[in-house]
Symmetry: C2
Subunit: 315 residues, 2 copies
Amino acid sequence: MYNHTPAMVLALDIGGTKSFVGLCRPDGTVLAVRRIENRFDGAAAYWSALLDVVDELLTEKVGGKSLFHMAGIGFGGPIGRDGRLRSLHVGGWDGIDLSGDIGRRFGLRSTLGNDGNVAALGELTYGAGRGLDSIVYLTVSTGIGGGVIEQGEPLLGQRGLAAELGHIALYPDGPECSCGGRGCLEALASGTAIGRRLREALAAEGASQEALAAFPGAKEVFAAAAEGCPTARRVLDACLSDLARGLASIFNVFDPPVMVLGGGVPMAGDALFVPLRREMVPHVMRFRRGDVDLRPAQLGEYSVLLGAVALAMQA
Amino acid sequence: MYNHTPAMVLALDIGGTKSFVGLCRPDGTVLAVRRIENRFDGAAAYWSALLDVVDELLTEKVGGKSLFHMAGIGFGGPIGRDGRLRSLHVGGWDGIDLSGDIGRRFGLRSTLGNDGNVAALGELTYGAGRGLDSIVYLTVSTGIGGGVIEQGEPLLGQRGLAAELGHIALYPDGPECSCGGRGCLEALASGTAIGRRLREALAAEGASQEALAAFPGAKEVFAAAAEGCPTARRVLDACLSDLARGLASIFNVFDPPVMVLGGGVPMAGDALFVPLRREMVPHVMRFRRGDVDLRPAQLGEYSVLLGAVALAMQA
């Protein structure tokens, strides 16, 4: 008897602080998913634990590997065109062969992409860019990363390191950036930066260390601004103005049909998007201002996971 | 008798201030070329004059049109994906059908591109990027324009308006830009901007109108700096620092194998490129600094003309 099993995809979103392992359908339905916090000492232990979760999930949910046709992997760091992993935040990925390990252990052919590009593909295929063939996607979270897809093709660059959209310079003497530059978009408007800028402003006003500790990131800054704190309002306005100027430059360079913002900071919703659109437009070339379409991501924390599904389906 | 005529290409570089009409071989050899200054009242008269030059050149050099297989056109303004011309600097191009007119009058199939993209293709095919499949090209001249080719494909954007590399914002309160924005790369480091910034600096030092008139553009500023004028040196350093920061952002976004600078300003040679490379590197992401390859264009004033040849050959 021939068994008509629906095609399924194993999807991995490997991030610096957490990962998701999912079983999904090609239409983007998530059938089962596991979230794994990175509490491991080094990449090898982390990766080994992720493989064990894959094993458990396959055993538990589908009783084996034979239902699976392919796997997709979104990796949280730059990937060279040679396939070499280069994560900046977590060491030790260098010698690990993700696709090879998945193939050997589960007999699956897998496709690998940088998480920014993969999230862009996820939103384009199943989310905010559905029906289009091009997208500029930015994740505004701990850092600012991104992905660009132009007429179905990801922008990779010579070394696979393109679309570092968080590393455009907005001020000559801005704050130091983790990349070694100065005044980058990421150093001014990531969740981390928004929190830091409020803490700096409060410290300048003489706030206690205890008071500063109440503002670790963007979420608390949005909340304080909404409650009427004038310092939080002022800092947030400055951060959004910088983000807007960065987005306008990116718009001028790519002329995308849609720009999609994902990650933690855009969870603020209208409190982010309304001022952001207003501040962005004056920096866009005059005759193109009517073309700006800035949208929140629709896939929540699964932009990368579902992008990995789409990546596997393309292969 | 069968006549083995070598394939030839009619190439047009249509610019706001001047145009070139050339007869070229597919290998990039320019067999004959005419330069036409734009002294016309409106686009229709200018285009009509260009068509007459094409006619003369064909009649004079090859005695007719039958030797020609194709034409390529680089146009100095944005071109919508619908083929509509949108030059910002010269009005009246809107209703003109360049390819249609060339087809009707000379029986040639022609291909049309924005001059930034076409120049990028020219340098990639015959110039500074020969042997590569990707390039970021900037023309630094009256304005700053550009073109990006990634793995053989030009970056066009949704409306054909991508790669406006002169319109990334480097300062929140920088000088007004012709695009309607503020602090754009073009408003800080184009030839026009370099001249303006020196005139502003000299005016602030109390220079006469006559003295200011000696510095219409970048060429005179480079000359004054070379002769030891401290104001010119200071202004030029500031302009090159801004240009460097813009180039670093563009590098981070595109990860190109090579960045090529054409147009008038890069004619300054080492006086431009030596400080520019030095200033650019600290703004590039730390682990990518060794990958920066910034080169002068090799095709001089024929980047667009020869790009038009390559464009025709692709079609």
